[in-house]
Subunit: 376 residues, 2 copies
């Protein structure tokens, strides 16, 4: 039998289970998060936390039939299942299917090891789509094969996950050699490894590159796992990794229509110190304006990271064929290409982005719809 | 005459001006940021920092005709104007026209004091558009008047600034009472002050609400400057403000198609400790899962902030008329409405967002095109 103890000093209720384990629930939390206080249609919280006093405490509390019953001084009642309380106890991070642990990779992955799926399966089979969505989260890189020779074929797959992220380059972009390019991607030059658009407040998430033609000499694709590079740097030179996480640098893209700027560290860590994102693009890194001390700390660290991006141990190379699409997490995996000779044949990739938010949302919705347990 | 001193220990060149002031330029910085190392068409950096050794130093340096000339061991030369060097010296934050100091406001602003512009001016006059773009940055709230009775009229103004930010609610959304609402905005209920979509990785920036009809009883709009609320909290209870900046809480929107989650503090500060954003939405704050200590710190601080949102001293109320549009920084200014009675008349606002990145970009491009000095 679950035992209830009031703890007025802490303003919380303690539930002590028969096995002696206990959880504490602040009175205000119990009232604010009572499932009955959420709107029946929208699922949003309707309860107004300021409708109760700060020193709110239940008048009585009892447990019966696996439910906790509380009576509040204003006449309200709370009835909530002990199972629900255990799953939602303070200090317990509820499982999120989108919390997929990254599988960090080096050149050992090889092109053959890249997760892949057939376009027809992704378009028609929710279970196949979910497996692939999870694989892209885990590895940060995947291939789609068997795309129709149709400019919309890659986008149809992307839109199975979510709407496309618009940027100053449009909702889709054509990677090919163009006159008057406003971006190195639109030349025939080699592109060293980089992430796209760290000059944006939110750099685009998952990138789709559908290969419509790749007949030119050269034009091979290169990828590297930014998490692996950061890990290698942190192991070899923790101070260098800390410098790249501490020091924000200016990024800027500028043409006649747009002037988009953002300051970011190369290695973006979350509040728990965990690496969340890599922002590496030497082309649109603006003229560095840190103070002399930070600059002295920054340059050697940045050069070490750059050198890792050139190390074959981390680089995975492949040449996309027409009808293939590569998909990668642009906030984690660096991409690049070798130069190509436009005189020897056509090279045309059609690109688009779906942000991490939409990606994770589809992952959660499909996990629930297919009744799958959360991945780990 | 500017004097040059080599500082091999620090790896930098010191330029000492005739008035005795001096600036230091790291050798690597001088080479990496040489304007000649940027692509002539795209403006992107083409120079490869790893093409030079870490201990790079110029062989000779001289000043003539207002230019610094450097000769490097690999035969390269750098010629750069002293004026350019002074403007780009390390430790000097170059002016950005989009760094507009906020004018923080309370109820004293009054509806009459809200910056306003006529739609026809914004659509046809770049100078009027720029003034208004700067005003929205400064005040966080503005009105547009004289819109045509046309569903596209508000969007035409928004698109003068930038493309629309898509969300799970679409690129545009209709704020009106609907059957089966998936959001409280789509009911006739009162909406307490809030910011939209803190459950997103990047909450939407500038919000446009074009009033197409507002004939129902009730349905007045309310706004409050989140920066003023945060400032008042920090003055009255600095610990409470710190708690709301330190403790990230879970936000979640969930319907049959989307499940979008993000963890954020209510007060988002940048790396310099400056308030950058307010994320306040009690409806989509998910069930709090912090540990007991954080929760004990959180609830009193959160309630203090909530109480400020109810304080008439901070609230600005107005009733939009058909043909008016309100525009506000959703990451700063809270908005809400009073309940309305759909039986008494139609109320219909058409909404859209343009993100801060596009806003600032247009501000910079127009400032340059109109040859304006940066605002302060």
């Amino acid at each position: 039998m679950t035992e209830i103890r009031f703890d007025p000093a802490q303003g919380c209720l303690r539930l002590i289970r028969p096995d002696g384990t206990a959880d504490a629930y602040p009175y205000l939390w119990l009232r604010d998060n009572d499932p009955a206080g959420f709107h029946p249609q929208t699922g949003e919280r309707s309860f107004d936390l300021l409708s109760v006093p700060p020193d709110l405490a239940p008048q009585t509390a009892s447990v019966a039939d696996g439910m906790l019953h509380l009576f509040w001084p204003d006449g309200a009642e709370t009835r909530v299942a002990l199972d629900w309380l255990a799953a939602h106890r303070p200090g317990h991070r509820r499982p999120d299917p989108a919390d997929v642990a990254p599988h960090v990779w080096t050149a050992d992955l090889t092109p053959a090891g890249i997760p892949r799926a057939a376009a027809c399966d992704l378009l028609t089979d929710d279970a196949a789509l979910l497996d692939w969505i999870v694989a892209v989260k885990r590895v940060g890189l995947a291939l789609v094969t068997g795309l129709a020779d149709d400019r919309e074929a890659g986008l149809d797959v992307a839109r199975r996950v979510g709407f496309l992220r618009e940027t100053n380059f449009g909702r889709t972009f054509e990677v090919m050699s163009k006159p008057d390019p406003n971006n190195l991607a639109y030349t025939a030059d080699a592109l060293p490894l980089h992430t796209d658009l760290p000059n944006q407040d939110l750099p685009p998430g998952m990138q789709f590159l559908h290969c419509l033609a790749n007949e030119a000499e050269g034009g091979g694709s290169v990828f590297a796992d930014g998490f692996a590079l950061a890990e290698a740097l942190a192991n070899a030179a923790p101070d260098a990794a800390d410098a790249l996480a501490d020091i924000a640098i200016p990024f800027r893209f500028h043409d006649s229509e747009f002037d988009i700027r953002s300051r970011k560290p190369v290695l973006v860590r979350d509040r728990d110190g965990r690496l969340r994102e890599v922002c590496y693009n030497a082309h649109i890194a603006d003229i560095a304006d840190m103070g002399l001390d930070e600059m002295t700390r920054f340059y050697p660290a940045y050069r070490r990271f750059m050198a890792l991006t050139r190390d074959p141990a981390f680089r995975l190379e492949l040449k996309l064929a027409a009808g293939e699409m590569v998909v990668f997490d642009n906030r984690r995996v660096l991409h690049g290409r070798s130069a190509f000779d436009p005189a020897t044949g056509r090279r045309h990739l059609r690109g688009a982005y779906v942000d991490r938010g939409e990606w994770d949302s589809r992952l959660r919705i499909l996990t629930a719809a297919l009744n799958r347990p959360a991945a780990a």
